[in-house]
Amino acid sequence: MTSYVLPGQPIPLASQWPSASAGRRAYIASLVGIPQQEGPVLSISRVRPRPPAINSVVLGSVTRLSPLQATLSISVVDGVPLPAGEEFTGVIRIAGHRVKIGDSISLGDARSYFVTTARNDLGVVFAVSEAGKTMVPVSWQSMRCPETGRLEKRKCAKPE
C-alpha cells in the first residue's frame, strides 16, 4: 500500500489484514493520503491542526489563574501547532490535579476543554520566575530561577 487514496475511495487492503476477510466489503478513506497498516490499525496520517480530542496531549499557556482552576490557551494539539489566533480554551481544575500547563482528558463543557497534568510526563514545561528569568526544573514539583536561585513550586513535566 504505497499509493494515495482520496475521501470516498475504498482502501486497497492486504489480504493478511484480519478484517479483510471478516465480511466487511470495504474500508473507505476519509482523508487524502497514503494508508498505513500497523498490526490491527489501518490509518492515514495527517499533519494538520485539529481540535483536541479525548487523550490528546496539548501545550498551551496559562491565561488566568484562580484558586480553583487555571485557564489555558491551547496552541499545540498532539504535537501539531495551531495557527495564531486559532487557540482552544482549556481548564485545569485543582481537583483534576496539581498545577499548570498540561494536557487534555475530557471534552469539557460548552466553553472549554478539561485538561489534566496528572501523569509523569505532563506538567509545566516553560515558566518564568518572579525575577523574569526562564526557570529550570529541579524536581517534579519545583523549578529554580537561575538568577536569584529561589525555588518556585511547579508541577513539572518529566521529559521522555
Binding site: L6, G8, L31, R48, P51, P83, E86, E87, A110
Partner: protein
Amino acid sequence: MALDRRRINGPEESFPPVFDSDALQWKLEDARKDRSPDDIRPIFLQPGLISQANGSAYIETAKTKIACAVYGPRQSKNTTYSEMGRLNVEVKFTPFSCVRRRAPMRDAEDRSIAVAIHQALVSSVRLELLPKSTIDIFVTIIESDGLDGCVASGSVAASTALADAGIELLGLVTSCAASVVGKKLWLDPTEEEARLSKGTLVLSCMPALKKITSVWQTGEMKVAEALGCMDACQEKCTEIHSVVAQALLESAKI
C-alpha cells in the same frame, strides 16, 4: 446611502456607463456559441494557494474565478455545547466581479449562494467527529459569469479545500449546473445563457459513493426536463471528480 466612515467614499451616487449600442447578443433560435450543449467550461483547479488558511482551493472555469479558504476546525464561540461540529459558509463578491459594480456592504455578500454551497457540502463532512467545533469556509468570487456556475464551481472549490485541510469527508463533492434554453438542455450556462433560459438546475453529488447531496432548481422546467438535467449533470460530475482527484493528488505529492 449613509456615509461609511470605515471606507474611502466616492460621490453619493454614481451610475454604470450607458452605451450607444447594445452588446452583441444572440437569439434563442441560434446555436450555442462556443461549445456544444453538453460541454462544460474547462476547469482549472489548484489546491493550497492560500498559505494562511488550513486548506484552500482556487478554481477557474473560463471567466469565472473563485478562491476558497477553510479555517478550523475552530472552537465554536458563544454557543451551547454541541456534539456535532458546525459548517459555516460565507460567500463574498469582489466589487468588480460582476457587470454591475457590487458595492461593499450593500450587496457584496450573498446568502443564497452560501446556503446552496452549504447544502451541497454538509452531508459530505463528518461533523460527528468534531464536537464543539466550527469549520469556516470563506468563498470569494473574484469574477462571476453566471450565478449557477458560481454555486457549482464554489462547491467544487470548497470540497477540494476541505480535503486539502485534512478534514474527514465521506467523499469529495462535485457539482454541475444545467439550463433549459428553449427546448434544449445546455450544461454549465454562462450568465447570458442563464438569462435566456427558463429554468436552471445545479446538482451536487459524491460520485465515489454514487450519492446526491443537493439539487437546486430555479425558474420553471418540465419534470422530464429536470430529470434530463439531473442525468446530464451527474454524468459531468463524474468527469469533474477526476479533475478534483488529479488536483488533490498532485498537490499531496509535492
